[in-house]
Amino acid sequence: MDQKARQEYWRRNLRLMAALLAIWALVSFGAGILFVEALNNISFLGFPLGFWFAQQGSIITFVILIAVYVWRMDALDKEFGIDEYEQEVHHS
């Protein structure tokens, strides 16, 4: 990669990271804690919604966030022609 491609790669990586971390904070600290009382007025599969986010929803969202990250980074690597040769990335 040349310098310009590198900057572009890093910029898009950071943007993806920021978006995913914003969702991470919103479901856990937001839906699970700060706004839990308001959300508890809504019922979801028998759960008060805020309680569901705190005990189940946030965990499920976390798995999805990492899945999206892995998938988007893979696509990004491919777009920038990065092809890891596993043999080469081994430790000393």
């Binding site: 600290f29 804690i33 028998g46 309680f51 965990i59 976390f62 798995v63 890891e84 596993e86 430790h91």
Partner: protein, 560 residues
Amino acid sequence: MSQIQTWTLVFVVLSFSLYIYIAYASRVKDTSGFYIAGGGIPAPANGAAIAADWMSAASFISLAGIVGLSFNGYGGSVFLMGWTGGYVLLALLLAPYLRKFGKYTIPDFVGDRYSESARLIAVISAIVVSFVYVAGQMAGVGVVFQRFLGVDTTLGVIIGMAIVFFYAVLGGMKGITWTQVAQYSVLIVAYLIPAFAVSAKVTGVAMPQIGFGQILDELNALQADLGLSEYTSAFADINMLNMVLITASLMFGTAGLPHVIVRFYTAKSVRAARFSALWALFFIALLYTTAPSVAAFSKLQIIKDLDGTALSAVPRWFNTWADVGLITQADGSPISDLAADATLRYTDVAINNDIIVLASPEIGGLPAPIVGLVAAGGLAAALSTASGLLLVISSSVANDVYYKKINPQATEARQLMVGRIAMAGAIVVAGYLGINPPGFVAQVVALAFGLACASFFPVLVLGIFWKNCTAAGATAGMAVGLITTMAYMLWTIDIYGNSDGIFGIAETGFGAIGMLINFAVTIVVSQFSTKPSEVMQELVEEIRYPGRTQLVAKHAEGEL
């Protein structure tokens, strides 16, 4: 021998034989195999190993009880969100970059990126965090043996030590990894089968994550009748500030745990490190979304079984656990002190957190083989975490202290021997702590996360994302973060200072504040100290991009 004991023995012998066989089949001869399994573990296996490594006896045995009993439902969410949310941070901010940097341990990264004095602080923190944590695991092994096989606790711990000794000393990281894959399988099967069965029985919906919602109204109503706050109501037992701080401490602490981070070095490549994090959280989520359901089902069943029941008519599980002193009267005196014709009230009985999962098959009325399977699962959880921690201790001593500081000329064989001796020594100390657990272990385990959060997380993140973060800054930040957090904990924890602290912040939540202080100190000191060398700045830039470049290759060979 009762039917339950027979089945327990069958499952324990079967699972232990499997671990020993795997260890023998994957024994190692070089340091790279010993510390990081040669860096050649496929992502799903690595994920399962991370999950087993990280889900300790506390997750398997205590989590459901903590959520349902001690924290009365909603308050327990701090553990559910905190311990899983950390993986998002690990996956996005740390794992790929640390893998690219390509060293063995956290102290190794810290020492290379910053300085030798920073390495020393990191070594000490890693060893302290690991020993505190491992003592709890060994004590857990003793409890399971004692309860299910009637074996003396001491003998139980010694059996556990012998098994860990065999596969950890012989196989190092490689042996541990593949054993942990087996242990994950045992523990998750042992956790899910009773949970599905109980859910089907109580709600008619086999999937506990969904059945969970069906019983909340009933549970809330029962709790209200008993004069307790509702199971789902927010901030009844724990205020918003502490919810936020404890959750944050556990999240950032998980992202800084040495025995979890070392696992990303065992991945095949940067890409595999990312996938490892995904698999790990997926495997963990299977247990972590089930645990709150188990908590609610058990609590509902317990209230129904006990409240208003005559002591002569209680279910059998109640007597079994009352006999070993894990169910007592609310003031701690034994149940046997009650008159034989007494009628129980739920609020007059104290039930230990640790029995919820171990007893759930019995509470749900499931057959003996399942009870035996759960015991084997508890042992798998405790032993897998113990071995991961012991590896951190031995690699810190052998690699970071012996090889890097005492004898840099040591041959491969010699380093390997030191690693094995350190491992053996650590197992003996861990066993001793398990047999004679210092009273504060249970409290200190939760604090270990706070300490990891306040000491490691900032230096790792800044080390990767900020080229100008200096050695002096990181050292000062780590030291100040660690010292303020420890001081606050000693000041507020029940057995020492027992103060209310500042703004009523719980000692388990202070790690997040310690981390902010660490960030601030690191950033400020970095402005006024010598910048990292040109080569180091280039290297930090380099790890942002996947693929092998000459600079990173030379660094990994130790030529820089």
